[in-house]
Amino acid sequence: MKSLDPRITRLNISAHAGSGSLQTSPEQLATFEVFLQKRDQMPFEHVGIIHAPDEQMALVLAKEQFSRRSTCSGMMVANTRSVVVSPYTDMEEDVYDHMEMESSEVSEENSPQEYFSIFHLTRRGKQHRCAGTISAKNFEDAFKTAKGTLKEDKPVLNVWLIREKDLFKIHQQDTDIWNTLPEKRHRDVTSYRARQKKDSIKTRS
């Protein structure tokens, strides 16, 4: 097939290529929830998902899908399956006041403490934002602890809990991958001013 696009012509596609299903395997690639820190000291915020085979690849791909613009000082991912989600509340109720966490986990009394990162949604339609990291025995315990220590001024409508060990981050020494981000002006609106050219039309007519 000859195309107006020389790249397509080079693919040598038959115009009558194929019909029917792609016969892809029924499995889907897993997804990883991606969290981004815009600037040092700011909380990590949820920005979306990446389909990837593992956390290493997820980080590598997330970097370009979610930090192509403005600034970025940190990024982390967690397999969607590692995220424990609280119920969503109604009518601006605080999930900490009105819900109990049901956890399928059973922990021994003497089981070791682990760290959990807690993410809050304070407005439907907006992003989950990291509220802090706490130490607890299991998810249910983590939710109770978060209720005690991480409550906010406004109602928290939904909570995500992720074990620290399930969160994979870009290492501190690798944050230089974002060094030139502010200088990449070709995606910047300010690189496309054309006032003088437009004015040249007015002077002509």
Binding site: D5, I8, I13, G20, R187, A194
Partner: protein
């Protein structure tokens, strides 16, 4: 970018008869007070179905939309245009990723959506079935098609489904560069050499018809979508969107001394509405149903890309365990 003129089925509200009345009332009340629906909320299956369809069409439009401008990626003139066009087309692919991800939260896996696209079972914006003959065509697309998309996207960002709104917020932020870049290119051509001016005028002549189709058939012949407006799935009528676009961009086109190939196009100062020659809606239906200049090519290219990439995906899928994404 994407295109408006979503193809909605005549929304058969009979399906609502079987839904739980109380839950439906609570759902509609939430929407009425402008609170977003999140994936874990109860929703009527008609809402879920129509949203998947709409977001899927939008995502399809992005990935197919990468092809007309992609035609000129290897030939962009000069460093500035080369890097900008690469970034712009890359953004379209990025938008497709964001949108398929939003649709996935409703329960349809991405590969199923891509399969449906390739098999012709789901649609994408009609405008991408037209050819980008010259560099100037690519610039007109970058400017006006993106402008049209932004009109839609800004309206849809106020819709009811959380994940779609979040995706649109990200998309709209990236679109501002697209619009500025497209306009910048067209200004340069319109103020350039005689060869450049001719190229851009001819491109505009080719793309004006498809742009008038862009927002879909006029309200008076469109299918009934009242329930979708009530549920804030559809946020504005096709004609409203079209008027908004004309209001914002016709003056900008005229100020470049370009002519629009519709002598009837003018703003009625009394009604404050734009008047224009009625677009050929039969052509629109023909093209959207497969008979446009590039339909076969667009789908063949997408199919080929997927087929050639299958071995890569297969290698990554070893031990893959998928669950529906969260937000």
């Amino acid at each position: 970018m994407y295109g408006g003129g979503n193809i909605f089925d005549d929304s058969n509200t009979d399906a609502l008869e079987t839904e739980d009345r109380e839950k439906l009332a609570a759902f509609e009340a939430r929407i009425a007070r402008d609170e977003k629906i999140e994936p874990a909320d109860w929703m009527p299956s008609l809402y879920r179905k129509q949203l998947i369809r709409m977001i899927e069409q939008h995502a399809n439009s992005e990935i197919i939309g990468a092809l007309p401008e992609g035609t000129w990626i290897t030939r962009a003139p000069g460093f500035k245009r080369k890097m900008a066009l690469m970034a712009k087309v890359q953004d379209e692919v990025g938008h497709a990723q964001l949108l398929y991800s939003a649709a996935e939260t409703l329960g349809k896996p991405r590969e199923e959506m891509i399969n449906d696209l390739i098999e012709g079972k789901s649609k994408y914006s009609n405008i991408f079935n037209y050819p980008a003959y010259t560099w100037a065509d690519a610039t007109i697309i970058s400017w006006l098609v993106d402008a049209g998309a932004i009109v839609n996207q800004i309206n849809n960002a106020k819709g009811s489904y959380g994940p779609y709104c979040r995706a649109l917020e990200r998309i709209n932020a990236e679109e501002s560069f697209h619009l500025k870049y497209g306009h910048h290119c067209v200004i340069h051509l319109a103020t350039g050499s005689p060869v450049q001016q001719k190229m851009v005028q001819e491109a505009l002549n080719r793309w004006w018809g498809p742009m008038m189709h862009f927002f879909g058939p006029p309200d008076k012949i469109s299918v009934h979508t009242e329930i979708l407006m009530k549920w804030k799935v559809k946020m504005a009528t096709n004609d409203d969107n079209r008027q908004q676009f004309l209001d914002m961009y016709v003056p900008k086109i005229w100020e470049l001394n370009l002519t629009i190939p519709d002598p009837a196009l003018k703003k009625n100062e009394v009604t404050r509405k734009w008047e224009y020659s009625e677009p050929d809606w039969e052509e629109f239906m023909r093209v959207i149903n497969g008979d446009g200049p590039c339909n076969k090519e667009r789908l063949a290219v997408r199919r080929t890309a997927e087929e050639k990439g299958k071995w890569v995906r297969d290698a990554l899928k070893i031990n893959a365990q998928y669950v529906t994404p969260l937000a």
